[in-house]
């Protein structure tokens, strides 16, 4: 079923080649290459400190120096200022969630400007996340961890972004909320969104993803297709240390 194995001609929404990224003097990404095609859900797996967050931040131009190639919808973005990148259709959900304390829930939701048509309406979002509707007037950071995660995700669905970069969205959340997030990601896939998912929780990611990249020391060491999970599970376990 997935785009990469079906052999159909599909466009690369995100194409990274030989990317090096630095924080000041620390060299974090060492020649990272990956591709995510239209409608795919691809995960970036790896141990803590492997460089998964840095990879997403490098795409958003939120690190120091970068060398290499990052094509978004075929457009080279390496020399673009950070505030232009979202306008190519990218929505970013940071690991620390980034809910603003000085804004209400609804102001948080409305903060990212619409970047292209096709985003969800506020009503649709409140239908998808009824808790947020109930607490729309609360201070953003008064929400529970799970609600804050919903909000961080919801606010990029409004903008029309069709490439989502999601960083550890299940981290520290109760199983019932993790199941809810899995349902939401299923819905987003059905809508045809392209998703790059950084995940620690492999049991959450495995049934959703079309492909997995294994990241170690800032480069991709393995690519695993969904149908290969059974045969490659011992290798995966070795890399992830589970």
């Amino acid at each position: 079923m997935n785009a990469a194995t079906s052999g159909a001609v599909t466009t690369a929404k995100l194409h990274i080649q030989n990317l090096h990224a630095y924080y000041g003097e620390s060299h974090i990404l060492h020649g990272l290459s990956l591709i995510v095609r239209q409608g795919e859900l691809v995960t970036l797996l790896g141990r803590n400190g492997a460089g998964r967050t840095t990879a997403l931040r490098a795409i958003m131009n939120m690190v120091g120096r970068r060398i290499g190639t990052i094509l978004i919808n075929g457009v080279e973005t390496l020399s673009m200022p950070a505030h232009r990148i979202a306008h190519l259709g990218v929505g970013y959900c940071p690991e620390e969630r980034g809910i603003f304390a000085s804004l209400t829930v609804e102001e948080n939701l409305l903060l990212p400007p619409a970047i292209q048509p096709g985003g969800m309406s506020v009503d649709e979002i409140y239908t998808m996340f009824p808790n947020l509707a109930e607490r729309r007037r609360s201070q953003g950071t008064r929400l529970s961890g799970g609600e804050q995660q919903m909000l961080a995700l919801a606010r990029i669905l409004r903008t029309g972004a069709d490439i989502l970069l999601l960083d550890e969205i299940t981290e520290g959340l109760a199983p019932v909320i993790v199941r809810r997030l899995a349902e939401v990601l299923e819905q987003l896939k059905r809508r045809g969104l392209t998703i790059l998912l950084v995940e620690q929780n492999f049991r959450f990611a495995a049934p959703l993803a079309d492909r997995h990249y294994l990241l170690e020391h800032g480069r991709i060491v393995e690519e695993v297709f969904a149908h290969e999970l059974d045969t490659k599970s011992s290798m995966l376990n070795a890399y992830l240390g589970v």
């Binding site: 939120m62 979202a86 940071p94 000085s102 409305l110 970047i115």
Partner: protein, 295 residues
Amino acid sequence: MSIFPEINLFGLFSQLLVGMINGSFYALLSLGLAIIFGLLRIINFAQGAFYMLGAFGAWLSLQFLGLNYWWALLLVPVGVGLLGTLLERTLIRRISGEGELYSLLLTFGVALIVQGLFSKWFGVSGLPYQVPELLQGGIRLPVMYLPTYRVWILLLSLGVCLAAWLLIERTRLGSYLRAGTENPQLMKAFGINVPLIVTLTYSFGVALAGLAGVLAAPVYSVSPLMGSNILIVVFAIVVIGSMGSIGGAILTGLGMGVIEGLTKYFYPEASATVIFLVMVLVLIFKPAGLFARAA
């Protein structure tokens, strides 16, 4: 028999009024500082110089362009704001991310240069500026005499402060400003042109100082040093209210003006230091400031 003889009641209310007028200027200036510090993390020591430029702008445009007070009130803040744009784009932007001390030194240096030039050109003795005809005179109340122009200062600055507060707390542009204060990097990731917002914010904060300068021209003499005198007090006020709190800056500005006025009445010797005393107490007991937002 009342406890206070009538003449003293008169004096008390007069000092209260003077305190509220000073408080209006404090509020306008510290509001601008708080807006700028909140988003840019810039300690804008040039705020006093922009206030002085506002007053000189009014005086110069009357002398050389024949523009009266009302035109000055409209145009000078815009002009001062544009000077702020120029300063932000050419100098301040270059040191963004270098830490607060650098911006303090840079803006302090700019302020010294501007003050020096104006002292050389116009002397330091101060130039007179007439109260506009429409606002001359006053109202005699039972307890005090209320000069119309002072009432005007109070109303206009309160109105401007309220409008600025509403703009920041209740509009979409304001939500950008508040969010940018917390996490500008994430704002950029959402596609918001943060550098543009930074320029607009700096210009707006500085334009408020320009407006205060025009308002001040008829009551204080127009002098190159008027800005440096008031700036130190205004910084104490921003520290008391909490750096970056908009509502805090406004309320503290007015409140400190009133406290200063009351001190002038009850214990004049302390009136020049009372605000600093309050600052010390606040720094000891609530170092984040009276209006620090709970995280």
